[in-house]
Amino acid sequence: MAPMADEAAFNDFVVARAPALTRTAYLLTHDHQLAEDLVQTALFKAAKAWDRIEGEPEPYVRRILYTENISRWRRRRVSETFQPTYDAPAVAGNDPDVHVALEHALAELTLRQRTVLVLRYYEDLTETETARVLGIGVGTVKSTHRRALDRLRAVAPDLGELIGAER
């Protein structure tokens, strides 16, 4: 593809998919600014390798998104633990308080645990697909997933209905 066509295709992709990528990034980071930075980084790396991507670019960009988020955490070790500012007990159902409580509870997870949950539930990937995207074993996905749910139950017992009972 000619360079100009590459640039046009990339810009079309950015315009079309950046909003969705930003939403996913927000779930991973719980921070608007970090989410936008993460998407910028992923798109930047995708642009650098654009002419080497075979097929649809979005899976590649999303993989960068996930791995870069974990890498960013590893580099900086910035505590992403939210302050426990919510005291109100959550109520199951579609109550907005439940989602606020869920947001806080997700923030209590490690980054990898949160990433696995986002991939499994928000992105609707199977365990095998999640393992492939993150470059880890299926067993690791399973154990991380289990620990993530256990931790959610521990930090937000009022979300029991949302999360499900312990097996």
């Binding site: 315009v15 927000y26 798109l43 590649y60 993989r63 960013r72 580099r75 490690t110």
Partner: protein, 501 residues
Amino acid sequence: MSDHLRDGMTRMAERVEPAPPDLTLWTRARRARRRTELVTASAVGATVFALAASVGVLVQPNPDAPDPSPAQRPGIPSLVRGVDGDGGLELETDLAVGPASVAIANPTGAFVVTADDGIYHRLDLPGFDPTVYDDPAIRRTGMVALTLSPDGTRLAYGFHGPLPEQTGQGPGFVTSGVRILDLDTGTVETLLGDQPLPAEYMYYVDANDFQWAVVPYGIRWSPDGRYLVYEQVWNVASSRGVADTLVRAGLQDAYRFAFGSSAPTIHDTVGDTEFFVRNIGSYLNWWSGWPTAVTNSGMMVKGSIGVQFVRPGTRGAWWQVLGVGGVEDAYSSGLVDREGRAILETQRPSSHLLSVNLRTGARERLNLPLVPVQVDLLGWIGAGHVLAQVRQGSEQNLIVFDLSDAEVETNLVAPFDDEGTDSTFSFATDFATVRHPASDFSQAAEDDSDDAAAPQAGDGPLGTDDGGDGPGAMWLVAGLGGGLVAAALVVLGLRRRIRPV
């Protein structure tokens, strides 16, 4: 259960209002890719050198063979990144972050990379003003806003008081000086803080002066970390010039020598064994004036007619002038080893190194296998080996020079990934050795998981030279084979297609 969780996450995500897409990404990414390709080419060159070195070991065992241990240890990261803006980092007011291997300044702040873990920290340095260095012309000179001590435990930087434009009082004197942050304790010391401010301690700001000159510049540590030297422009009444200051770090004990371009012959001694020497002759360029080399026993300064150095045990009249003549001796950086051998870098008539025996004056030209725009010799890291910061075009690299031969061999330690962040870098040279010039922190294990580390997109180490293990034939064969495979992979990597997962 999964439906509930999915629904909750979806609602969370829907609350996000994405920012307008950045359509400059493509241009910036292509520029970065060109830089990456240059670094890759350097890595291939380094591999070739490693192969050549391996062959050499067949004939003679190499005591400086790279350390085969893959264990992570404190050191300079094998990939040094610039910081864009605040880097998304929290501003740390507790400055006791521990020894650092790299200090980074950009137009918005100060950062260090801790040596133990390669983590970036954004520091709240009292009085530090990164904006005074925010000029591409200044950055090209190699002037850095932050200077790490060789052992990485202290960070020196210039500070200044309120500027006239900040006080609204028009041109006037500004208090400025040097501060040292102890990275172990978090305490900040102002040098000369207990003494009355001398005239040259203050800077008169007017419209014709360089903004950067409001703070001390060219700050360098002696290799043992006992001394600090810096230069500062002063402007007092009708007099104007440059003050060089040698400070015994931490003792509030300074020796200041002032001179102007019209009266440049100044040299003196400090105590019985410590020496401070100023060049004779006028400045060649305004950026070439600060001390070229600081040793444990003195310093060496370049000038238009040569370089001066005083040997320990002598007094002022015993200084030597190294190199005389015109622009050929326009040295831009230099080092002195314990045996009295000076290594100078000059760009004229072409970029090369010059070895000068300070006792005899004998000179030898050392040819570089690369064509750098600028070389800043940072420090000795072993017999005959120098750690240098090299700029080639838009690329910056940390490179080890092997000076055992007139044809200098190079070994890429760490490429800089500045990515247009306007960052400047200072390195704690004690962390680099010939056997272990850099540390790869990308494989650090996560604290909370017993899982294997997840891959990092595009973050692989570049150019580290850890490899073989001594002269054994098995290792040689493995090293040669591995080197060839590595070179092939690097070349193929440029063409590898990416398939969606």
